[in-house]
């Protein structure tokens, strides 16, 4: 290593020195830009939620500082005042701090992309910088990755723009977030990322062949990687975000870079570490597992007793079986702290309690005979006697009255009162905010918090609490269907917490899902080009029908779409055929009888025949069109009899030529199903009729 470094130094001493002198910078995004932690994050931004009694952003800042970052830009949006207050009070803003923290707030940030565009606009970074979220917990030594990154940039003249840090961990590991699960194809030697794909919700994975054709001869396809959400970026990253205004997330960026690799020549690399710990608290399940990892000392030296935030009175003692006790903790007679327990200062615990794998905050009171397992209790929580809590989150100021059972994955948000004598089923979420409020201020999600709070207070007074839900003395509303993103619906089964099955009838829901569909369309055009194109074509045809647009104009529109989505002519034709044939199903539902189907389709074919004629010109085009027809009817096997009529109509409209049909019939059969299709009686007759017609015409010709 050292000898290599020496050689470079001889090469360009001045630039080397310049780079060495520049302080290492970091961009910390203290906003998640999603609503995973709703309704908890309604009262407190995610970065300030306590993990092991320390705000998450403190872990991130400590991580940055320990890797030698000297200047950090913290970008906040949602509840920026609170984050600012917290940071100004913390040790990071003391004049002696080795890491200078600049806080930048704006209500206009809606995504990571906006933040980075602002970084570029303000010209904040001068050199390679580390990009993290405010909820990353890590002790990875990034300096090695940083060195590799700088080395690559020196050798390859700024081709590599980003190095992503991953940790090795087997698939299905509890600290792996299913949302963030990725599969990565990379070059073994250069660690260059060739293909990057999120696996969530996918049963099939596709790798473009061309990635394996050039480059070195060794490749790795890895699924054993845990995304730490730590990236080392060159200043170009910010510029690239500015250039491509549709990039919202890092995922967009990575995919964009990989797709445009040949054009722009930018590359992304990977750094895989085996030791060290790094994870992002991206949902409640991750919160649970990261918290337990932290208590089990995986993030050493960021352990609870280290008191790295340097707060007075935060210190605690550590004893065997990972039991941590803060100052002034009182433990009643016969109470057991089994293992992996963290108890904050001034907390008192009654007699005969049984506590395991739990984190209890400061100033809590816990009654007698309480059973806590995997409970996360924040500050000032009051738990009465005979309570059982399993794998749940209890936020600041919540009160749990006597004999309450919290089953798995419950969430009690701020200041909620529950009980007495109640059992909350799995996955119950209780908040002081009424769920309907949520729908109303859906749009102004990023309002300033004062406004928000005043607003909500009026609301809570108006509506009465339901004693059946929260108990006779309870305060709070059961929170259902709070998630608006369609992705979350899919995640409902596998993620803990706030994701219950959304109410299908609610208007806001469908609106929102449409929105998100729009977003996903604009967000990831590369992968869904074909689908998106299909949707667009459908829209165009629909509009054409409603507004009576001339077919020539339709052709024009489709052509422009073709260029927009970069679709080949062949695909255009196949998609067009498909869209037209499916049109009746689209309009009138899939329960059509064959007769109804043909009845509505045939006039359509007639109207749109010029469009077809425009695309179907060469002999090969005819065959492609026919195979598309065949494909569709193979799927819709109840309507196979309609196929003959369709072919007949197309023949009559001179969209298809008889030669092509005959050729398709004789040669096209590739598998059993299509062979079966060709045995259809109607089709046989049609073909025979065609043959005869041909004979006749040829005879006539003679």
């Amino acid at each position: 290593m050292s000898s290599r470094g020496g050689k470079q130094k001889k090469g360009n001493v001045t630039s080397e020195q310049e780079e060495e002198e520049q302080p290492l910078q970091a961009v910390l995004v203290a906003d998640s830009f999603n609503r995973r932690f709703f309704p908890i994050s309604k009262d407190q931004p995610r970065a300030l939620l306590p993990l092991g009694n320390v705000a998450m952003i403190d872990y991130t800042l400590e991580f940055l500082t320990s890797t030698g970052v000297q200047e950090t830009f913290v970008f906040c949006c949602w509840m920026s005042n609170k984050i600012k207050d917290h940071l100004l009070k913390s040790k990071w803003c003391r004049p002696t701090s080795p890491n200078v923290v600049h806080i930048i707030t704006s209500d206009l940030y809606r995504s990571l992309g906006d933040v980075l565009r602002d970084v570029d606009a303000k010209n904040l970074v001068r050199n390679d910088f580390i990009l993290v979220y405010g909820d990353v917990v890590s002790n990875i030594d990034v300096s090695q990755a940083l060195q590799e990154h700088r080395h690559r940039r020196k050798v390859d003249k700024n081709i590599s723009v980003m190095t992503m840090v991953f940790k090795e961990s087997s698939p299905g590991h509890k600290s792996r977030c299913e949302e963030d699960d990725v599969i990565v194809a990379m070059d073994s030697k250069s660690k260059r990322v060739l293909h990057y794909q999120k696996t969530q919700g996918l049963k099939k994975l596709q790798f473009p062949m061309n990635i394996f054709q050039h480059g070195s001869d060794e490749f790795e396809i890895r699924h054993d990687l845990l995304d730490c959400h730590i990236s080392i970026c060159s200043p170009q990253v910010a510029e690239l975000f500015t250039d491509n205004f549709d990039y919202q997330t890092r995922n967009d960026f990575v995919r964009g870079i990989l797709v445009n690799e040949e054009i722009l020549g930018n590359q992304i690399h990977l750094y895989v570490t085996q030791d060290g710990y790094g994870a992002r608290v991206s949902n409640l399940q991750m919160y649970d597992s990261v918290s337990s990892d932290m208590v089990r000392r995986w993030v050493y030296p960021l352990t609870p007793e280290a008191n790295f935030t340097d707060q007075q009175g935060q210190g605690c003692t550590h004893s065997r079986h990972n039991v941590y006790r803060g100052a002034e903790v009182s433990l009643g007679h016969g109470s057991q702290m089994e293992e992996n327990v963290l108890i904050g200062r001034d907390t008192s615990i009654g007699a005969n309690c049984h506590i395991s794998n739990s984190v209890i905050g400061n100033n809590c009171t816990i009654g007698d005979n309480v059973v806590l397992d995997r409970a996360h209790m924040w500050n000032n929580v009051h738990i009465s006697s005979n309570v059982e809590i399993h794998q749940s989150v209890v936020c600041d100021g919540a009160v749990v009255k006597e004999a309450v059972h919290l089953n798995k994955q419950c969430v009690l948000a701020y200041n909620v009162v529950i009980g007495p004598n109640l059992s909350l089923p799995d996955g119950t979420v209780v908040s002081m905010h009424h769920p309907e409020e949520e729908e109303e201020d859906d749009d102004d999600e990023f309002l300033s918090d004062d406004q928000e709070v005043g607003h909500s207070k009026d609301k809570t007074r108006q509506k009465a609490f339901n004693p059946a839900e929260v108990g006779p003395e309870g305060k709070g509303y059961i929170w259902k269907a709070s998630m608006n993103d369609t992705e979350d619906e899919e995640l409902a089964q596998c993620l803990w917490g706030l994701v219950l099955n959304p109410d299908p009838e609610s208007d806001s829901e469908s609106e929102a899902s449409e929105e998100s569909q729009d977003r996903s369309r604009s967000v990831s055009p590369e992968i869904d080009d074909v689908n998106a194109f299909q949707l667009e074509v459908l829209g165009t045809l629909q509009r054409g029908l409603e507004e009576n647009i001339v077919c020539d104009n339709l052709v024009l529109e489709i052509n422009s779409l073709k260029y927009a989505y970069n679709i080949t002519l062949k695909e255009v034709m196949q998609i067009l055929t498909r869209v037209v044939l499916e049109y009746p199903f689209q309009q009138q539902g899939t329960q059509l009888t064959t007769l109804q189907y043909t009845g509505s389709l045939l006039p359509l074919l007639k109207t749109w025949s010029p469009v077809f004629k425009n695309y179907i010109k060469r002999a090969q085009d005819h065959l492609d069109c026919l195979s598309a027809v065949e494909e569709l009817f193979l799927e819709q096997d109840t309507h196979q009899t309609a196929m003959v009529k369709v072919l007949m109509k197309m023949y009559q409209l001179e969209i298809l030529e008889e030669e092509a049909i005959l050729k398709w019939f004789s040669t096209g059969a590739t598998n059993d199903k299509s062979r079966q299709l060709r045995k259809n009686q109607g089709l046989q007759k049609f073909i025979q009729w065609l043959k005869e017609a041909e004979d006749e015409s040829s005879e006539e010709g003679e």
Binding site: Y277, R296, N322
Partner: protein, 354 residues
């Protein structure tokens, strides 16, 4: 204002030192031996003495005690830091007494007899101001620093008295002091060293390469083989992290098993420990005593998805004084039972608890 500059410079240095301590041993911070740690602490304390604002010895002691408390809290397992703070406090006491011109008599420890005869003893308050005190204290700290610099050499010099030709020596893990000790003996004598690798960190491997480079015949064995090999060993020479007030040890994990095996075979167990490792702690303070690190080394993170059990990795173990034959420090060899005496020479009893 240069004064203010000095002040912030000082606090900056202290903060940086604290941060280093907190990250100590994780691989992210600079990893240092306890000798270096002791030196750095002393440098910092000298700087505090020179730059902080104080008018009397009492003020200075208060400042140093405060900083010392923070430093020890930052990494309780690193006892050297606390020891050096106590040494400096002792120096201040001595220098103050000397400036006052009081005799040796008053400086000596309080005995039962004295307590009975003295009646209302005037409490020393260290409030008197002396112009030369600062210079004297700094001078004395400099002497302490030279002593620290020479410790390893002083210990190594005694090697020939303990290691004889054709002996088989066993050691555990890696200790800079022991390495220097053995290397010094190897200049004149030929002997065989068996190194227990000391899993899971396997510092023993480093030790073995270091020793074999200077031509010492070295064998690395697994920790499990310690007992089996012990019968052939003439002497066990190991290092330690801390020498406890009762003459016990707090050393790298695995030391205790070596000590027990040595006792079983009646093999002498010799500890190389410089004086700055002598701590007034007793092995009953469970909480601060052990250092637990990430369980990564024994249980890879990757396989955790299958297993969920309690995983802990303790870095050190405690051995009781009766297992130990001899301590070799920079001021000579001592039996474990004599440690209490050394303790009273090095530290003032009032400083035992910072």
């Amino acid at each position: 204002m240069p004064g203010a500059d000095k002040e912030t410079d000082l606090t900056e240095r202290i903060e940086a030192f604290l941060a280093d301590l907190k990250r100590g041993g994780s691989g992210t911070g600079p990893l240092r031996g306890s000798g270096e740690m002791a030196r750095e602490t002393t440098y910092l304390l000298r700087r505090i003495t020179a730059q902080a604002r104080w008018s009397s010895a009492g003020d200075l002691m208060e400042i140093i005690r405060n900083e010392g408390r923070r430093m020890t809290a930052a990494q309780p397992s690193e006892t050297t830091v606390g020891n050096m703070v106590r040494r400096v406090l002792k120096i201040i006491r001595e220098e103050y007494a000397r400036s006052r011109g009081s005799s040796e008599e008053t400086e000596q420890q309080e005995s039962l007899h004295k307590l009975l005869t003295a009646g209302e003893l005037s409490e020393e308050n260290f409030r008197q101001h002396f112009v030369l005190l600062k210079a004297n204290v700094i001078e004395a700290i400099n002497e302490l620093l030279t002593e620290l610099d020479g410790t390893t050499d002083n210990i190594a010099m005694q090697a020939l008295e303990h290691i004889h030709s054709n002996e088989v020596i066993m050691t555990v893990g890696r200790s800079r002091t022991v390495e220097a000790f053995l290397k010094d003996a190897a200049r004149k004598r030929k002997f065989h060293v068996i190194v227990a690798e000391c899993a899971p960190f396997c510092q023993g491997h480093e030790m073995a390469t270091g020793l074999s480079k200077v031509g010492i015949e070295t064998t690395v064995i697994a920790d499990a083989a310690i007992f089996a090999v012990m019968s052939r060993v003439n002497k066990v020479i190991i290092g330690t992290q801390t020498v406890l007030a009762n003459g016990g040890l707090r050393a790298v994990n695995g030391t205790h098993s070596v000590a027990l095996a040595a006792r079983h075979h009646s093999t002498p167990l010799i500890i190389c420990a410089p004086m700055f490792k002598l701590s007034p702690q007793f092995p009953n303070e469970e909480d601060t005593f052990h250092k637990f690190v990430s369980p990564h080394e024994v249980l890879p993170f990757t396989i955790l998805c299958i297993l969920t059990f309690l995983s802990e990795l303790k870095v050190n173990s405690v051995s009781s004084p009766e297992l130990i034959t001899l301590f070799i420090s920079n001021i000579g060899g001592n039996a474990p039972s004599y440690i209490y005496r050394l303790m009273s020479e090095l530290y003032h009893p009032e400083d035992h608890k910072l």
